[in-house]
Amino acid sequence: MRFQIEQRSQPSAAMRFAAPVVATALTLIAGSIMFAFLGHDPVATLVAFFISPLSTMNDISEWLLKASPLILIGCGLAIGFRANVWNIGAEGQLVIGAIAATGVGLFFPFQESVLLLPLMILAGMVAGMAWAAIPAFLRARLNTNEILVTLMLTYVATFVLSYLVHGPWRDPDGFNYPQTALLPEAAMFAPFDYAYRVNTSIFITVAAVIAMWVFTERSFLGYKMSVGGAAPLAARYAGFKESSSVWMGLLIGGATAGIAGMAEASGPLGQLSPQISPGYGFAAIIVAFIGRLHAFGIVLGGLLLSLLYIGGEAVQIDLDLPSSLTRIFQGMLLFFLLAADFLIFYRLRLLRSVH
């Protein structure tokens, strides 16, 4: 008995929408079986994973707070991914963005100016773009591999951050902790309510989602980039420049990552420390793909991944589940999602021999 993978001639439109639901259902079933075998009540575990983390206003605030940078960066990266430009180093661009923005926030002479926050946004964005410009230049001019260069620059960025917070930018009144002084009031995004941490920076994310939708679905520039990604020879045939796709893809990703880094410093953290990001730059890659590189898909992907992280922490604390178990569960969901996605376009066919 042999199987063969073949393309479906007509992917079902209904299944495109049903696939995530099917994947979620399969995850719940497989997860329940796994939890039951390990001696945990499956229903209670799933409630603790998915329902309890969203039961209070504060929970919702934390959920959105974590989802926002994931979605913002996911949108930026997806534009590059659509053009086969593989920016794996959003984490580094995020760090550099946070550094530049914090630098402006700490050292700008007019510490109470209303311009301080916009200037920091600008600084974060420009720094993220500048960091991404290095691999863009190397790929466009010397045809180096941007996957390697962006990834390696992430480590460089992390060390720059480490140097600054341990050295010249360390807060003199900070009991020798590796962190900068707190940012002034004018350098912070206003929270909606001082009881919760979620703040006005989520409007930037909302704007980015809309901008990405227009760019990918409606703009000629986005069209040209998608041709470059889907069929490089057709792009060359039509006369679309590959190097401009490389530049656009990396710079947009760098810009969103830089702004996300800035928003962490000016939001929940209020200063620069080595823990500026819990890996948003890397997780955003998964978000972009769960969202099928589509603006609204990325919103759902970001919300889902954020919930998985929060829920994973919750079951560890509430039910004493080992962290590896929550990781397996997260992995299961991603597996089923991607498999369902694959099966929209392909199918398995049983091969029989002729008799």
Partner: protein, 511 residues
């Protein structure tokens, strides 16, 4: 006598298409049997089923009266069935003998094997040096390697899939001599083709396929071309007609002393190419594939640019340094050989594929796509060129090769170019549509457009070109005028022999 091969009711379905529908045929020992049909009629699928490279959904295959149970290429080879594919499967960087060694099952040493190769190739008139590296061989020689590789196994049935598509007319004659020799020794031959004259010259029997079904069997030597064509196409083929035309004073596309090194090891260097195409004429470039056509096309289209500008002039402007986008802006349109992935984006719908080259026709306003205009344009192309598709929202990769070809040719013609460059205009297109495309190209030229056609189909070039060049080993011959060029002359030029003869004055070719 039992038939060497018998097929009973073979069926094979692919998603959305029935490739073979109840096909039965018999081949006797020593018989040369043609499987005749247009591109897409299901010939290649049927051959792969016979060879065991793919499996039928229904039906039986019998070899010498024995039912073949579990089928596969190794089963075929143990039964003495060998196949020469249309696209060769050779390793370019090793020698002829080493390539053949890969298909030998028993123990061997290269020296003995080389001797055997020489002996077999001499016996059947297929001269071949076993020590040469494959990437030095011409396409015709590569085909000889494939055939000799099959003959080494003493086949009882040899399958040849469109073997002459890469050969010059003279090489075709030589191949036929070999095949007749083989058949006289009792080897059966299945000969797949869509060329009527070849089938009539060579084959004892013919099975004709259309849309996956057998539409008739015939003895080709006792049938007329028209009878065979009707079985193949299902209708009479319209004839193209060339109106006289007025030719522009200055060429719209002019190439002078264009030389360029190949970009990869297996490419062809272009040497001092001179070519003029005036408004109002159709100029053709004939030649066996791989003689520099791909390199020339990419330099003319702007997919590859040169540092200096003068070797290519477009509408009088030096433009060898200009990008493909700039050249299109100046009035160039271009149909590439590869449809999927180069001429069209596979995953985009036809409307979006109209934007690829048609974006200047109001399909973009203020940086945003105007999809309604693009779909309108695509709809027009679909209607006018009779593309079988469910409207502009059909995804390009779901179209058959011929239909996509019609769409791309139609799109480029609808761009209203000054200069139209077309590689393989009717490749894979059914006969009726091919006639329509040819007529449209002629009519386009008669409206003042310069049309340059690069094709491997000599018949096609003779049918529609006002002037004809031949490309061989990166050199372009002088132009032959319509009515003055014979198939033999062009054939000699295709092998590079014409050039020497030309110098001695034996074959006067006027320009």
């Amino acid at each position: 006598m039992k038939p060497r091969l018998e097929l009973r009711n073979i069926c094979k379905r692919y998603p959305g298409v029935v490739a073979n529908d109840g096909i039965s045929l018999e081949v006797m020992p020593g018989e040369i049997h043609a499987v005749l049909g247009e591109n897409g009629a299901g010939k290649s699928t049927l051959m792969k089923i016979i060879y065991g490279a793919t499996h039928a959904d229904e039906g039986e295959i019998l070899c010498d009266g024995e039912l073949i149970g579990t089928h596969g290429p190794s089963v075929s080879r143990s039964l003495g069935i060998e196949m020469v594919y249309q696209h060769f499967a050779l390793f370019e960087s090793v020698s002829v003998a080493e390539n053949i060694a890969l298909s030998v099952n028993s123990k061997y040493d290269i020296a003995t094997l080389s001797n055997q190769v020489s002996r077999v190739s001499e016996k059947y008139g297929l001269p071949l040096d076993p020590r040469r590296l494959v990437h030095h061989l011409s396409v015709g020689e590569r085909q000889r390697v494939e055939i000799v590789r099959c003959l080494m196994q003493d086949p009882k049935l040899l399958i040849l899939d469109e073997p002459t598509s890469v050969l010059t007319p003279q090489a075709v004659e030589k191949l036929f001599v070999t095949l007749r020799h083989l058949a006289s020794e009792g080897c059966s031959i299945l000969y797949i083709s869509h060329k009527l004259d070849e089938v009539q010259a060579l084959c004892d029997m013919a099975t004709v396929l259309r849309n996956g079904k057998v539409t008739g069997t015939a003895e080709p030597k006792n049938s007329t071309s028209a009878e065979l064509a009707r079985m193949m196409v299902g209708a009479d083929i319209p004839e193209t007609h060339l109106d006289p035309s007025t030719i522009s004073a200055e060429p719209l596309l002019s190439v002078s002393k264009l030389s360029a090194p190949a970009l990869d090891v297996f490419g062809t260097d272009l040497k001092e190419i001179d070519l003029d195409v005036h408004g109002g004429e159709v100029v053709g470039i004939a030649g066996v594939a791989g003689n520099g056509q791909a390199e020339l096309v990419s330099l003319l289209s702007g997919e590859r640019v040169l540092p200096s500008s003068h070797a290519v002039k477009l509408c009088g402007q030096p433009s060898a340094h200009l990008s493909a986008a700039d050249r299109r802006r100046m009035g160039l349109a271009f149909v590439p050989e590869e449809r999927l992935g180069r001429g069209a984006v596979p995953s985009h719908d036809l409307g979006d594929n109209a934007v690829l080259t048609g974006h200047r026709l109001n399909m973009v306003t203020r940086g945003l796509l105007d999809r309604r205009t693009a779909r309108g344009f695509a709809g027009k192309v679909i209607d006018r060129f009779n593309v079988k598709a469910n409207g502009p929202l059909t995804v390009a990769q779901s179209l058959s090769g011929g239909n996509l070809q019609k769409y791309i040719v139609g799109r480029e013609i609808e761009l209203k170019p000054q200069v139209l460059l077309v590689a393989q205009p009717t490749w894979g297109v059914d006969v009726g549509a091919a006639a329509f495309i040819r007529q449209t190209l002629i009519d386009l030229s008669r409206s003042g457009v310069a049309v340059l056609i690069i094709s491997e189909e000599l018949d096609e070039l003779f049918e529609i070109c006002d002037r004809l060049h031949v490309i061989c080993a990166g050199r372009l011959s002088a132009a032959l005028k319509r009515g003055e060029a014979s198939v033999e002359e062009v054939g000699l030029l295709m092998t590079g022999l014409g050039e020497n003869n030309n110098g001695s004055g034996d074959h006067a070719i006027s320009n």
